[in-house]
């Protein structure tokens, strides 16, 4: 009886609550839209001045008011690629070890280890990379140092996504491989990897997106050299987020507009990578649920 009276009195509150929840969900779309709109607007002055040269010239000089994003785009892609070289084998190895090899009692501590690595703040990675890796081991402030640090930083996200994907491998597939006499590695190659391939590609791409957008650690160790487009990993350079973080403090109006222009470029690049990655991950997740 009590609940009946409650139900009658609550119908208005019910509608309000639904409306609130819908609003909170819509907020995600609103914020993303606002980010794109406000930043593009702020970047217009530099685009008006530089035209398509903003993406065409390699020179970046605030005093001369010449702003070319190309070297920073190169630095972003170059360091992100090196980060993947570091992170992908390690992440896959850890994910496979945790799911296929480790005894059950060891799994939680290993997952905890990965989680702790994920919680180390990016500025601490940067500090360590700067004062220990680049000064102590004489790697210098270079693309390579940035690539290594970014690689370590994206290991946790790739590992945890890869683990999630690998765990959806049907037990039947694995047992079938073992029943045919496969060794553990042959089972992984025959059952686990084909099943998880799509999801693993998605996980790696999400890691790529993170590496491209990682700011503070890159800003500290990449060397902040201007105008460098070189495949030499030992060279100093710069990446889109690093140059924004390093130059914002002393930037004038047009310079700020140029830095926002870099941020828009970075935003579009990471959104594109994440978009593709998310599509791949969701598709493979749906397929995995169907297979179960």
């Amino acid at each position: 009886m009590r609940s009946v009276s409650l139900a009658a009195g609550r119908s208005k509150a019910d509608g309000t609550f639904r409306w609130l929840a819908t609003g909170a969900a819509a907020l995600v779309l609103v914020v993303l839209g606002l980010i794109a709109a406000t930043m593009t607007e702020k970047a217009l002055p530099v685009l008006a001045k530089m035209g398509s040269d903003f993406f065409g010239t390699t020179r970046w000089s605030a005093p001369d008011e010449v702003f070319g994003a190309l070297p920073f785009i190169w630095g972003t892609l170059f360091t992100a690629a090196m980060a993947l070289l570091v992170a992908v084998p390690v992440s896959l190895g850890v994910a496979l070890f945790v799911t296929q090899v480790a005894p059950p009692w060891l799994r939680r501590p290993l997952v905890m280890l990965v989680d702790l690595l994920a919680v180390v703040p990016s500025v601490v990675f940067g500090l360590w990379g700067l004062l220990v890796l680049s000064d102590g081991f004489e790697l210098g402030r270079s693309f390579l140092t940035a690539g290594i640090i970014l690689g370590i930083m994206i290991i946790p996200i790739i590992t945890s996504l890869a683990r999630e994907v690998i765990e959806t491998t049907p037990v039947g597939d694995k047992e079938a491989a073992y029943a045919l006499g496969a060794t553990r590695w042959e089972m992984i190659r025959a059952a686990v990897l084909p099943h998880s391939a799509g999801g693993l590609v998605g996980a790696v791409m999400l890691g790529l997106g993170r590496a491209m957008g990682e700011t503070i650690a890159a800003a500290l160790v990449i060397g902040s050299a201007l105008g460098q487009i070189t495949p030499d990993p030992m060279a100093s350079g710069n990446s889109l987020p690093a140059v924004i973080a390093n130059e914002w403090g002393e930037a004038g109006e047009l310079h700020k507009s140029a830095l926002v222009g870099l941020a828009v470029t970075l935003f579009l690049m990471t959104i594109a990578v994440n978009w593709i990655a998310t599509t791949i991950v969701q598709r493979s997740r749906r397929r995995a649920e169907g297979a179960r």
């Binding site: 909170a24 969900a25 702020k42 390690v90 070890f97 590695w185």
Partner: protein, 301 residues
């Protein structure tokens, strides 16, 4: 029978037995490589912790608790404590971001799992949430600078807004996952008693998912506490205590580490290590509490 006629199968089968040793050896070698990968992630973590303790502890715990309570020296080459204002700033900014992002994120997750489900709008929001998780922190920082700081000036609140933008999609994602794990029959039992939908959500689904939601949110908080880039544009710089949340430039541990790391003065670098040790203790503490809360609440249930 078809397998017997298949030439490749026969070849494989005859090749298998003599190479048995080779195959087990290869499998063992791959397992060894996986173990190596585990060591490869433990190594940087231990190396970083070692550097933090060996270089930071002396500064952070010299005449305790001076480092945690004193103001930051204005002249950075001067040796001596303090990171007090930065610790206060980090706590204020992180707490503010939590108060903004967790309720909103929870509501968003409730919409996705309890109302929207597989509707077109819900699917779009779900997709964009994952996309938003990958938006670089420097971008959200600049965004808050443009919409907030340009109009209202530097403040801890601006930093909290920027961090909240980063936390929101993480909280939505983890909370929705936890709500999805709540068995449908719990909700049906409540409906059968005549409860309205909002009551079912708030008194049945949400409490059942609580351990997971708390630990997911704490992990998001731990990550936000260490962020630097979003604060860079919105918080400004300060070396004295600023307990005001809404007005005046502030500072944070991460900002102090960033600023002092590039300094050539040993005293400043020492303070950077001390601040880094403090920040990592804070972040690890939150992570461990998250684990504890999960296991504790799950055990009670």
């Amino acid at each position: 029978m078809t397998a017997a006629n298949d030439p490749t199968f026969m070849l494989e089968a005859s090749a298998l037995r003599p190479r048995r040793g080779l195959r087990t050896a290869r499998s063992a070698a791959m397992t060894g490589l996986m173990l190596l990968a585990v060591l490869a992630i433990a190594l940087p973590l231990l190396a970083i912790l070692w550097s933090l303790v060996s270089k930071g502890a002396a500064t952070a715990f010299a005449d305790f608790p001076a480092f945690f309570t004193s103001e930051i020296p204005v002249v950075s080459r001067r040796a001596g404590p303090g990171m007090g204002p930065a610790i206060l700033g980090t706590l204020m900014v992180t707490l503010g971001a939590t108060l903004i992002a967790v309720p909103l994120g929870l509501l968003g997750a409730i919409y996705l799992n309890e109302y929207g489900k597989q509707s077109r709008f819900a699917r779009t929001v779900r997709f964009m949430t994952v996309v938003m998780t990958g938006v670089p922190s420097v971008v959200t920082g600049l965004f808050i600078y443009l919409v907030w700081t340009l109009n209202f000036g530097y403040s801890a609140f601006g930093g909290a807004l920027a961090l909240a933008c980063l936390m929101l999609p993480i909280v939505i994602g983890s909370a929705e996952q936890m709500l999805r794990l709540v068995p449908e029959h719990l909700r049906e039992a409540a409906y059968a008693l005549g409860a309205t939908k909002s009551r079912v959500v708030l008194t049945v689904a949400l409490p059942a998912a609580l351990p997971g939601i708390v630990s997911g949110s704490l992990l998001a908080v731990a990550r936000a506490a260490g962020e630097t880039a979003p604060l860079l544009f919105a918080v400004g710089a300060a070396s004295a205590f600023n307990p005001s949340f809404f007005s005046g430039a502030n500072t944070a541990l991460s900002l102090q580490i960033f600023g002092n790391a590039t300094s050539s003065f040993a005293a400043a670098q020492d303070r950077a290590w001390g601040a880094a040790l403090t920040l990592v203790m804070l972040a690890f503490g939150l992570t461990l509490i998250a684990r504890f809360v999960t296991s504790r609440l799950t055990a009670i249930r």
